[in-house]
Symmetry: C2
């Protein structure tokens, strides 16, 4: 029997319609069952994962990717715990807000409802299969999961946990579809199914996201890259600036909320840059410096235009001295990726102005860019980060997987 | 000099970046100037409009379209008044909400910001040129306006009012682009400019909307059709039901929030359908009735599957007797277009359940579907109605032309 993505998506849409009105308790019971199945079925999951690991070794896939692929008992427990955390989160669905009485007499409000069916397209990490399914189900949605070919056995074994949980709770199993193969044609067809699928969230490299954006008829959440800036203002508390710089650049380098560019107001450059240079030296951070800052560093390279655009994801940073506040904001507007930007300043007006005018998903005063994720911002688990503005901008939690409809309470009113 | 949509969109993006942080007063002053220019330049506008009308007559364009195209002094004043109303509306931009203190010490909130650049693609009504520009500008956005070829002279004359106002207020004129020709290639290129344009709102027939959806790389707001349902429940107040039916079907037929299908609970069919039949007879409404209701009507036709899908936009209605509440909801789920649905009932639980489970943009209890527009729902002027769920669902006012970014107020916090 061949798999038809069109039929699966249509069935998911139908199942999602029923699932969407399920109450919070029933949804949480389902998620708890999924969490339990992860432990119950751990042997089968680890056997399937070993198949993927063997294939990865055979295909000489690089070590870091093999590591992302690997499951073990501790990682399975971490995946289970993430699901149990989602159970604890509030249910975004059903909230009614902005209720007002209109001159006609009707009362109007907005009610939060599920989006419908969400398709995830992702690469090697098998945990996404469970994380994404759990968040979509929490928000009352159907979900279609299309993982990478490197993780296909792991993903199918994890899918089994979800299917068993759905069956145990007598819910329509079609509400979660794990695409059973990684045929490119299936993905291409998926992107045309705008009658059944409401949103596509690709998670992976820029190539994948661009491919989906350019070929999809379904709205796509885009997250291209995180070129995050730290701007040390004239009135900065330089000690705060230094610890925010150190934390942003060195605490974890491979993540999109790490710092890539340091901008320093010219009037504090002479004091701050030697402090920064000592810390970079100490932590082994490679520097790409502008003409006005290069003399403060031991072994800096001259920064090129490419450096202002670079997402190093490594112990590497671009440094530029700026004339003033406006120059910093202009630089960010030109080279930023819409992810996260930080000002360090004690100047009340400068802090508020930066927050007001900088056009990125997360704009901060006097805090580390590393706080830019769903958990730290208070959203709970995160399904992705949007750096485009439609529907959601920035880290996306369960609420971003919902929308609002208008609800009207009348008493026989008609329009004159 | 040939017009380049790519260059215009790029310039609009740059101009919009500056315009986005303009305060409410400055934006309102600009809008007021546009309103004044409409009266100041009325002669040139009416001369240009006459050119379009002459061409329309020459090309034997149908009378209703010619009427939509026609401007006169009264209509110009109405367009001006609509702009002045937008001036009076609150500015959605800048609002900070959901501020919370996180365990790390940072305070996190969401701030409402403009979307960026919005492209409107529309057909013959020239008033859209001003309405859409005013709403986009109110919300801090740049706008690209591509009207139909029938209205090109009118649109360019109206555009002049906007350009003069922008110049008088020393604002970058590129923030509003009126595409100076109606070349299909220009529109096709526009739909690929996802680096400069954030959202496309097509307003017109289903063909236009489908074409844009299938070809755009930019997110599209879709409004296919309004197949609105009225369900008369077992516990309905039948007098309320009758006046809501009459208002919904007959007050104005050519609009998307008029009723197209009447569903009646079997236990009240015998009482309610003769009341409905008398009103339909009186108002000249043609009926397409199911097997169980046809006997109540004088000259009804038997309803076919097509009737359940029909958007008549005329004095015509489909009528079906349903077994119960669930059957009504199922019918709406199957045949509804996601626009507006109404239940008439005195049963508290049924009213709330209908509002909860029906998956349309506007769901009402005991009120006329004709209230389903931006003005009546309290949004002020409306730029369109979305029947797809991403970003906006239902009537869209100025707030729907914005998004939210995260703002973080820290005091030197770093991540552990």
């Amino acid at each position: 029997m061949t798999f038809s993505i069109a039929a699966a998506a249509k069935a998911a849409k139908k199942a999602a319609r029923g699932y969407s009105s399920l109450g919070s308790q029933a949804k949480n019971a389902l998620l708890t069952e999924i969490a339990e199945q992860l432990i119950e079925q751990k042997e089968q999951i680890l056997i399937a994962n070993q198949k993927d690991l063997d294939a990865a070794q055979e295909n000489q896939i690089d070590a870091s990717m093999q590591d992302r692929l690997r499951l073990n008992e501790a990682r399975l427990k971490a995946i289970r715990d993430a699901v149990l955390e989602i159970v604890q989160q509030p249910d975004p669905v059903g909230e009614i807000s902005h209720v007002q009485q209109r001159p006609s007499g009707i009362r109007v409000g907005k009610m939060r409802i599920p989006l419908g069916v969400i398709a995830m397209i992702y690469e090697s990490r098998p945990n996404v299969t469970i994380d994404a399914a759990a968040l979509c189900l929490k928000a009352g949605n159907g979900v279609i999961l299309r993982g990478g070919k490197e993780a296909i056995h792991s993903n199918l074994a994890l899918a089994k946990c979800i299917q068993v949980a759905l069956e145990k709770h007598q819910l329509d199993p079609n509400v979660v579809v794990v695409v059973p193969n990684t045929d490119r044609n299936v993905m291409n067809e998926l992107m045309t199914l705008n009658d059944s699928i409401d949103l596509i969230i690709p998670r992976g490299g820029e190539g994948l996201i661009r491919f989906v954006t350019e070929n999809s008829r379904i709205p796509v959440i885009q997250h291209f890259k995180g070129v995050c800036h730290l701007y040390i203002d004239k009135q900065a508390d330089l000690q705060k600036g230094l610890s925010i710089l150190e934390n942003g650049k060195t605490q974890r380098t491979s993540v999109c909320n790490s710092l890539e560019t340091l901008l320093v107001h010219q009037s504090v450059a002479e004091t701050f840059l030697p402090m920064a240079a000592a810390m970079f030296n100490n932590k082994g951070v490679k520097v790409h410096a502008c003409n006005n800052s290069i003399r403060y560093f031991h072994e800096a390279e001259a920064a090129t235009e490419d450096d202002w655009h670079a997402e190093y994801l490594a112990l590497e940073i671009a440094v530029r001295v700026v004339d003033d506040f406006d120059h910093a904001v202009e630089h960010i507007g030109l080279y930023g990726s819409g992810h996260t930007e930080v000002i360090v300043t004690q100047d009340y007006s400068a802090a508020n102005e930066f927050i007001r005018v900088v056009d990125s998903a997360v704009v901060m005063a006097n805090a580390s860019s590393r706080f830019s994720d769903g958990g730290e911002l208070g959203l709970g688990a995160e399904i992705g980060i949007s750096t485009s503005k439609l529907h959601a901008y920035g880290p996306m939690g369960a609420t971003s997987l919902t929308t609002e409809k208008f609800v009207v309470y009348g008493d026989g009113e008609t329009r004159g």
